[in-house]
Amino acid sequence: MGKLIVSLSPHAHGRQSIERNMYGVIIALMPAMLASFYFFGLGSVIVTATSVAACCFFEWAICKYILKKKENTLLDGSAVITGLLLAFNLPSNLPIWIILIGALFAIGVAKMTFGGLGNNIFNPALVGRAALLVAFPAQMTTWPKIGQWDTYLDAETGATPLSIINWAIRSGDASILEQLPSSFDLFLGNHSGGAGAMGEICALALLFGLAFMLYEKIITWHIPVSILGTAFVFSGLLHLASPVYPDPMSVLLTGGIMLGAIFMATDYVTSPMTPKGQIIYGVAIGFLTIVIRNWGSYPEGMSFAILIMNAFTPLINNYVKPKRFGEVPAKQ
């Protein structure tokens, strides 16, 4: 007879694993990736490939040579996700050397300095994007137009829907908003004149990703619904107050709010651990995004809203506790 194995209970394990969750997120990002290839062509392929490759390389190298860890964490899939999400925040005509700097910031500064997967406070992709935005404001705010199949660095750029909204609010002229594409076009990504970041462009693709992740129970509904719901309600109230503010559907479908609500804010490590906490987090992000968009100097508020709330996550975790069994008074 062989040896008897002992340990304390439980002696069984479910099907959950880090790889399954990470690869599930990557699959959920595929529709958005294909949409960005379709709308932005060669540029988007180059930017995505560079970003993913750079993030993976930096994670592998830092793990092996600087941290000297026993097992390289490259294979758990989180570096690939950071690479994809960083790429989806960038314009498709960004030069390679800038992407490499962004990847180095995202993985090296935002993730590895804190101790690797599970220990970072801020979302790595967003930190990378924020760093690039501050360091290279010109390159990071010129957005190529859609439909240019084989251009990369020399793509023609145009105004994004968000910049149109910004212009309308600043000038106080509601008629500028008529230049916005229809909601239907925004949904599918057909911004004929305008443009945007690679991953933000097609709301439909992002929603496929959301449906997949909810089905596989990778994320729960609390964060996306509370962010989009709050943004919708708040921008709706503003729109009713004054026509210079865009209608809530346009607000939800422009810029990075869908990408952020579905993929960036739901990042495990940087979001709160309880459903109640997640709703508070989501409501605050929705609110802050609209505030920064309408009254801040940047047209896009999502990244900064999420980064600000990332800082509050430990506080939310400390004070918002799940409902304990037995707190409910006996029903008669």
Binding site: S7, S9, Q16, I18, N21, E71, M273, T274, R324, E327
Partner: protein, 455 residues
């Protein structure tokens, strides 16, 4: 129809009810029966026999060692070989009584017939009679915990019992002993429930069964209607959603009567419910009506690698090796031997450990399934928080226990943990959450006890 279930958390492990249809067989008598003196919660029993004494089936071999304790009766006839130490389910050597088996002679007072004795035929039985007989017969919780039943039937003065809930849920994978008991001894179980209701002085009873046992639900519903319909008793069979840990007594009370037992030291009777395992109800029937003390039980012997897994009516004291041999022998290679199911069972270092009062199953898991993967850092996915049935935060409690921050552990309600294992089952990073929490809980409970003792 809305199927009832408990309010918070829960998981769905694979069922693996391999022995669902296997009719119970009588296990062969062992050559030597081993009786650990500590088979229940409370003080170990004290031996009343010595080497060389002759015993029959049903002879008292150890008396209760204190108030919270239970006597032990011989399940075999033969000669006491020695009073020694042997490895029991705790993994340590503990005092045991070893009896060499000779023949199968029973004590005369035990009624061995199959006749169903009803309460109507014995109107003289008072609640005190029932509780005394249960106490003398050494009946303890058969669901695994082993709490002496007579104490549960006498609630403290601050609590008033309103109903008896029979736990026939059997939510752990693999185990089918309770199911087979219900299919084969339904009438006796209902008489047992009636006796429990008389002893607890209540007229409301519930039987909670998971919906993966439709045959049992149907059978018991029919028999309940026949027996209790129109009587002063109000007995309901409650089908429950298949979810682990529905069989935990707090979760069962929550699902059946929608009342949540508050944090320890509160117990189910503080919200009016007395919970008893269905095997205990059967043992109560046998103890009171058949004058049969507790010495045999229904046990499932199962595992994917066993040739012939089955359900057995086994005399306590039988070494597990005998049962495993009856199922085709221990499988090749390294395996895990569990007393109980895969979620809350105890891993054993020896196959000679005997079947005790709380051994509802012997489960064998193959080496590959048994070995744990290397733990990875916590990715803060919060899945453990979602599944915890007590509304706790396992990732936090495990971390606090690791860094030995006992004050904060207590503040975060670590003593509420029922050690069900849902968190560790779910964790994608394979972190040993329950191992850490269990340690922290034991230390915090010790701190609370010593603080209470000082005051």
């Amino acid at each position: 129809m809305n199927i009832k279930t408990f309010s918070i958390g829960g998981i769905h492990p694979d069922e693996n009810k391999l022995t669902h249809e296997a009719v119970t067989q009588k296990a062969a008598l062992p050559k030597q029966a081993i009786f650990p003196l500590s088979q229940h919660i409370g003080a170990p029993a004290k031996p009343v026999v010595q080497k060389g004494d002759k015993v029959k089936v049903g002879t008292l071999i150890a008396e209760a060692g204190g108030f919270v304790s239970a006597p032990i009766y011989s399940s075999v006839s033969g000669t006491v070989f020695k009073i020694d130490t042997a490895i029991d389910a705790t993994g340590y050597r503990k005092p045991v009584i070893i009896i060499n088996v000779e023949g199968d002679e029973w004590e005369e007072c035990i009624d061995r017939s199959d006749k169903l004795e009803t309460v109507e035929a014995h109107p003289e039985l008072t609640p005190e009679d029932i509780i005394n007989r249960v106490k003398e017969a050494g009946v303890t919780g058969m669901g695994g915990a082993g709490f002496p039943t007579f104490i549960k039937l006498t609630p403290p003065p601050t609590a008033k019992a309103e109903c008896v809930i029979i736990n026939a849920v059997e939510c752990e994978p693999y185990i089918t002993a309770d199911f087979r008991l219900m299919m084969e001894k339904a009438d006796e179980i209902l008489v047992g429930l009636e006796l429990l209701m008389i002893a607890a002085k209540v007229t409301t009873g519930y039987i909670g069964i998971e919906i993966n046992k439709p045959a049992a639900i149907e059978l018991l519903t029919k028999k309940c209607a026949e027996k209790f319909g129109g009587s002063k008793y109000n007995v309901e069979v409650v089908p429950l959603k298949q979810r682990y840990p529905q069989g935990g007594e707090k979760q069962l009370v929550d699902a059946v009567i929608q009342r949540q037992v508050p944090a320890p030291p509160a117990i189910p009777v503080n919200v009016g419910a007395i919970v008893q395992n269905v095997g205990t109800a059967f043992a109560v029937y046998e103890a009171v009506m058949k004058h049969k003390p507790l010495f045999e039980r229904y046990t499932t012997v199962t595992g994917k690698l066993l040739q012939k897994p089955g359900n057995f009516l086994v005399r306590m004291g039988t070494p597990m090796q005998d049962l495993i041999d009856a199922c085709g022998g221990m499988p090749e290679g390294d395996n895990k031997l569990l007393a109980g199911g895969p979620m809350m069972g105890k891993a054993l270092t020896s196959t000679e450990v005997p079947i005790c009062k709380g051994t509802n199953s012997v489960t064998i898991i193959s080496g590959e399934e048994a070995r744990r993967k290397e733990p990875q850092p916590c990715i803060r996915c919060a899945k453990c928080v979602l599944v915890c049935p007590m509304g706790l935060e396992p990732y936090l409690l495990a971390k606090l226990s690791e860094v030995k921050n006992w004050d904060r552990c207590e503040h975060e309600d670590i003593v509420n943990c029922i050690e069900c294992g849902s968190c560790q089952f779910t964790c994608p990073a394979y972190r040993p959450l329950l191992d850490n929490i269990r340690q922290g809980k034991a230390i915090v409970m010790g701190i609370i006890r010593s603080r209470a003792a000082k005051n």
